[in-house]
């Protein structure tokens, strides 16, 4: 039988029982779309983390201290004085609802720091001023915000002097940052920078647990890292298992690893459902072969070779899988877009789609070959004897 006819015949066979075909494909659709959604969400959230790290700027070192005391503001001065260190800024995450009048934003990231933060992070002001030492001394409730936050809360970036509330406590906007043009939410455009003292005003403690440092020289990362590490373990006497100093590259590398592991895990879980779907395809094909025993006998009597019969049923299984896979890919991408619109992280990649397509093909072949083989081995005499 010629190739085109085989496909056409297979198509008409599958469409003969549309309900059965749809149900068989359902397993594949669920499996494939799961793979796409789960891997996409894993990829997406990791990309968010990466973006955040990249937003810090190339050479920035991050020091995290997780012993009982943490660091105090005085340590910032000391760190700044170390050789090889250019500038240093503390960073303390703060929680709380961001509101301005009736408006609210979910996207804001509140960090408590000092007047060095902007230069360490290489951020530029578009309007207004940076935080200052005075703010710190006066324990003022002021803030510097990014363009997305400004737009979300005030509808404009021209909002210096306006007031927003963090957890109900009013803060005056003293500066607005330039847009960094990144589209992810967790970056400078969604930043709300408050003085360190404000963190305690909002009910937190004064412990500093993370510090960003920029090396003095362009290629000074190793030196800066060594110096920082030395200060923390030496001068501060913090045991080495209670702090970490990482360059951005190291952090990216670590997050890469986490991403890979997570993707593999999620992908593996989703693959189990693919195997189940494949078994479903095989089951239906076996039933189909049994039902069509007589048809096979007739065809053989008319001169069909074993390979003709095998090819016919294998093509049917393959068509089922490919169509199911295509629908699954479309469904997975659609769900991903939906998740994204709901604020969840999702990143579609061509490689996942390609893998999903390859998986569909493989399933069709692997789970279709056995029933097709059984069909081809039927002897015409027995087959014709069947009802």
């Amino acid at each position: 039988m010629r190739r085109v006819q085989t496909v056409r015949t297979a198509l008409s066979s599958i469409s003969r029982n549309k309900l059965r075909t749809a149900l068989t494909m359902l397993g594949l659709v669920i499996g494939i779309s799961s793979v796409i959604v789960l891997v996409g969400m894993g990829d997406g959230s990791n990309r968010q983390v990466e973006e955040r790290m990249k937003a810090l700027g190339g050479d920035v070192l991050s020091a995290f201290v997780f012993d009982k005391e943490g660091l105090a503001y005085e340590d910032m001065e000391a760190l700044r004085a170390l050789p090889g260190i250019g500038s240093v800024a503390p960073s303390k995450g703060v929680g709380g609802d961001l509101t301005a009048g009736e408006r609210k934003t979910q996207r804001g990231v509140i960090e408590a720091s000092d007047e060095h933060y902007l230069s360490v992070r290489n951020l530029k002001l578009a309007a207004g001023r940076d935080l200052s030492a005075v703010d710190r001394e006066n324990r003022s409730n002021v803030c510097v915000i990014g363009t997305n936050t400004a737009n979300d809360l005030f509808g404009t970036t021209d909002c210096v002097g306006k007031t927003l509330k963090i957890a109900g406590i009013p803060f005056t906007v003293v500066g607005v940052l330039e847009s960094t043009g990144q589209t992810m939410g967790l970056n400078a455009d969604a930043l709300v920078l408050v003085p360190l003292t404000a963190a305690t005003n909002l009910g937190g403690d004064a412990k500093i647990e993370s510090v960003y440092a920029r090396p003095a020289a362009d290629d000074g990362v190793p030196l800066a890292k060594a110096v920082l590490t030395g200060y923390l373990s030496g001068a501060k006497g913090i045991p080495s298992n209670q702090f970490s100093v990482m360059s951005q590259d190291e952090m990216l590398g670590a997050s890469d690893q986490i991403d890979q592991t997570m993707t593999l895990l999620l992908g593996g879980i989703a693959s189990i459902s693919l195997v189940v779907a494949g078994v479903g395809v095989m089951n239906v094909m076996l039933v189909s072969v049994t039902e069509r025993t007589r048809e096979i006998g007739i065809k053989k009597a008319l001169g069909a070779r074993r390979s003709d019969i095998l090819r016919q049923f294998l093509t049917e299984a393959l068509l089922l899988s490919l169509i199911g896979g295509a629908v699954g890919i479309a469904a997975g991408l659609a769900f991903g877009a939906l998740a994204e619109s709901l604020g969840m992280a999702f990143a579609a990649s061509w490689s996942v789609v390609a893998v999903a397509a390859a998986a569909s093909t493989a399933i069709g072949l692997a789970f279709g070959i056995f029933p097709a083989y059984r069909a081809s081995r039927l002897t015409p005499i027995e087959a014709l004897r069947q009802e």
Binding site: I298, A301, L302, G303, R306, P380
Partner: protein, 288 residues
Amino acid sequence: MMTERKGTHAKERPSSATSVASSTIRMERLAKRYPMGDEVVHALDGIDFSVDEGEFVTIVGPSGSGKSTLMNIIGLLDVPDEGTYVLDGQDVALLADNDLADLRNRSIGFVFQSFNLLGSLTALENVKLPLAYRGTKSREADATARRYLAKVGLEGRDHHLPNQLSGGQQQRVAIARALVGEPKIILADEPTGALDSRTSVEIMELFKSLHHEGQTVILITHNPDLAEQADRVVRIADGRLCTSAHGHEDRRRAICGTAGRSDAEPTAATVRPAAEREGEAHATRANG
């Protein structure tokens, strides 16, 4: 067109040079056995059988006589345990599975009692199926199929499904399908078994007219009246052949036998279920 009669109770097999050359089918000492529990059934017990081009032969016998087995072997659906079968010059034993399928496709046109059309295909699609397995292009196959549908009197019914056709019409479609590849032999198994008497007559007329055009037809049946409508009748019982001449009052119920075998004693190993023995008794009575 009378040809030599086959297999009476002695050896022989008059094989003249001409008959060897023109024999479409040539079977010698064909045997086929099946195990059945502890016994062995001799479905075919040393058959010698030939058919020449253009003959119209019927093979008659009761159930259990081995006629279905013989038909399966003629139609290359089964292989004999012993003996030789030469079809259209090809020794079937030398052929591999794929070659058998190809030979079946080219040389044999099947017609079954229950029509065996594919219910989801139209008449036209059913008829052109054998051509698909030859690699014939679809458009060409369509044209040929239409021609044969017209030939069996079903012009205009191309797009009917089998369940939209009467029994007689379905059988005609099956016959068109059998003819479409222009095979050497039409092999019909109880073609009128599922039809009423009037339609049966029509179908038999169709076979006869095909025969008059030169088509070789082999028809298998248990109905002796039907059988007598052919040129040559071959009787089969207990896996052995005997023939009687058509049209002779003196129904020379030749002693059925095979070359070199004594037919007085049935083989001890032959097993026939009681029901079939009954059937044969009836047939014998009917033939008087």
